[in-house]
């Protein structure tokens, strides 16, 4: 293909060359036109002859053809199959999930040094997980709509995702408007039913309250190259942690991300990414925060200021012959660093400057060792950082916890079909200083309705 392109470029260059144009006098051109016409005529005649012969051959062979083939031809009009996501329009899917959790420590207790972060925690005992109702369909040739409603076990419905998507701008641009999971990192966009473990890595739990959902607008651009290169940006309301909802015009958060990915031969594939998130928190209040005085039950602190998070992610997958149905290996890892600076109001009374850098990472691998069976290992670590605390609060706010929360997790899951999964997960949780926790989870995830396609 490239050779041909080069050739045509060379030929075009030749034609533009003055020598060539000099040679092509009027008489020459006339001769060429005639020759082309002759060529065209003889070509068309030959095609007509061939077509005639084909028709004869066809009519002859049609008579000889078996009844089955005739029936086949007759039934060709039976082509009422739907395109796209499946037989349902709109595509409806319902995820049913539940867990049994057994932990030794109070799950409401945050990781040491992360009391002012999100703490989605775990649920003990039998627990109906969030059932998820998904509806999606093309709205018109330009727009596609997606809504994912989470049905909470205690009742009530929350809108997890509700967005319209369009690639109508062309040129590899993909636009999303509404409520969506931000494109930062690797795991953030993946819905809970597709997680490889019962819970999110610590860094996602503490830094993103499991997943960052945004109300806003996302624009992605896919480069026209054989290597996957995707750049994206988002402007959002910034309601979710680490931001906070406020009444104002303009945007509350911004995200930039880039992904690059490709295959290595037929057996391996990879994707790496980098992302940047900025937002502002206004009176983001946390309760039960330990202080230097050791106030029983902790104090309530409030933070107002800028939050800037940078992240790196990678995923690598391997399957013998590229056939993921039987055996496969997946290795992934992510790292996030968050810098926050602003005012911290200790005990909701004493306000002074506060600046801190938190980091966290995880590394995990999931191996499908035989059809329908997978096992996985994950290691998580967080670093609460050393905070710069203003003089007024130097005697109140703990600036250095001298402890890095960590956790090791093992899981085993069995998927009888593509639509059902049963999982066992064991974890050694060392996120609270001096209070190690052994955790056990059993989980089922079932999907019914439209067959949702999974992201990489």
């Amino acid at each position: 293909m490239f050779n041909k392109t080069y050739l045509s470029v060379a030929v075009a260059a030749l034609l533009c060359h003055p020598l060539a144009s000099l040679a092509a006098s009027d008489a020459d051109l006339q001769a060429i036109r005639e020759q082309i016409n002759q060529l065209k005529q003889s070509y068309e005649q030959r095609i007509a002859q061939l077509e005639q012969r084909l028709q004869q051959a066809e009519s002859a062979s049609h008579q000889a053809e078996s009844v089955a083939t005739k029936a086949q031809a007759a039934a060709q009009q039976a082509t009422s199959q739907p395109a796209g996501e499946g037989a349902f329009n709109p595509a409806l899917s319902l995820i049913l999930g539940g867990t049994y959790g057994s932990v030794q420590r109070d799950p409401a207790m945050p990781a040491t040094g992360f009391a002012m972060n999100a703490n989605p925690g775990h649920t003990q005992g039998f627990n109906l997980g969030e059932s998820e109702l998904g509806i999606s369909a093309s709205i018109d040739p330009d727009y596609r709509g997606v809504a994912t409603l989470a049905l909470a076990p205690a009742g009530g419905v929350t809108v997890e995702n509700a967005f319209v998507q369009s690639s109508a701008p062309g040129h590899g641009l993909n636009l999303k408007i509404g409520r969506y999971f931000s494109g930062l990192g690797y795991l953030n966009e993946i819905h809970a039913h597709a997680w490889d473990f019962v819970d999110q890595p610590l860094v996602y739990a503490s830094l993103w309250n499991n997943q960052l959902g945004e109300d806003g607008i996302q624009l992605k651009w896919l480069a026209p190259t054989d290597t996957f290169i995707e750049l994206g940006g988002e402007l959002g309301r910034g309601r979710g942690f680490p931001g906070s909802d406020r009444a104002k015009n303009g945007t509350g958060s911004g995200v930039l991300f880039a992904h690059i990915g490709d295959d290595i031969g037929i057996e391996q594939s990879w994707r790496v990414g980098a992302s940047l998130h900025t937002t502002r928190a206004e009176n983001r209040t946390s309760t039960g925060v330990p202080d230097i005085a050791g106030t029983p039950g902790g104090v309530s602190n409030s933070f107002s200021g800028d939050s800037r998070t940078a992240g790196l992610d990678f995923v690598w997958k391997y399957a013998p012959n590229g056939n993921t149905a039987n055996r496969s290996i997946k290795v992934q890892g992510e790292y996030f660093q968050r810098k926050e600076s602003g005012q911290l109001t200790y005990n909701l009374i004493t306000a002074d400057s506060y600046r801190n850098t938190q980091t966290g990472w995880y590394l995990q691998s999931v191996v499908q060792f035989m059809p329908h069976w997978r096992t996985g290992l994950r290691y998580d670590q967080l670093d609460p950082g050393t905070a710069s605390v203003g003089a007024l609060n130097a005697g109140n706010v703990i600036s250095n916890y001298r402890f890095m929360p960590s956790r090791a997790t093992w899981m085993l899951d069995y998927s009888p079909s593509e639509f059902s999964r049963l999982r066992l997960q064991l974890a050694r949780d060392n996120t609270r200083q001096g209070l190690p926790d052994n955790q056990l989870f059993l989980q089922y995830i079932m999907s019914l309705g439209a067959h949702g396609a999974h992201q990489y």
């Binding site: 030929v11 060709q76 395109a83 040739p141 590899g172 996957f228 295959d263 056939n323 999974h454 990489y456």
Partner: protein
Amino acid sequence: MNKFILLTLLLVSTSAHAVLNVFACEPEWAALTQLLASDKASIYTATNALQDPHRVEARPSLIAHARRANLLVCTGAELEMAWLPVILRESANSAIAPGGAGNFEAARFVRMLEIPAHLDRSQGDVHAAGNPHIQTDPRNFLAVADALTKRLIQIDPANTTYYQQQLVTFNLQWRAAIARWEKQAAPLKGVAILAQHRGFPYLNNWLGLKQVAELEPKPGMEPSAAYLGQVLGELQKNPAKMVLRAAYQEGRPSDWIAERAHIRAVSLPYTVGGTAQATDLYALFDDTIARLLAGLK
């Protein structure tokens, strides 16, 4: 000099139009497009013969290649539904969007078998449009080639006569090949077989093979030891000559039953590249029939 200029003009006129970028979901459609479009198309094949076409991941490389495609050639009938919708969405390429001229689904042009009377997943991974493994009957390629040529012409009208000519050649050669294969395969008529996955109804229909049982209790579900034992029991009443599987499938269930029932386990290429011999569409059926005949012995 005149001749030289004529030659260059002809070269320019044929290559001035950009080559069609074709994204073929499965190797058989890549091979067919190659036969019909030849050097007018640059073809990317999304899957290989050793991959389960139901279970492909929406890898970044697939999205990148779909981004620039002018034409998508796939089986359809929900075969690719676990991954293709993501590719189509993420590639942001309206040229190949479902329903458009650039989105070609072969299954729309052949008579589908095993269309379920009612849709219920208690029946396993059934497809609403019927069994999607249409590429095991060469007669299906005639209808698909005809429709695909029309689509190529619709997208690339500058090469209309070329595509028409290619189709004429293909039809003549393919019909001759079908006649040859049917003659070779005559001893297979009425032969009882087992299938590991419900993947051969079109082959059975074409060659008159009689499928007595499947090793999967329900389509897409792993054969359990207990169920295989049951199949083995039934084999004593209804003996079969061989057990068939596709190249991408695990050999263990077939081998297990073949050993105990003293029949042959036959691995078929299933698509182009499934065996070392199945190098193109013609070789695919040459090899399929050779392997089936070897299974008779």
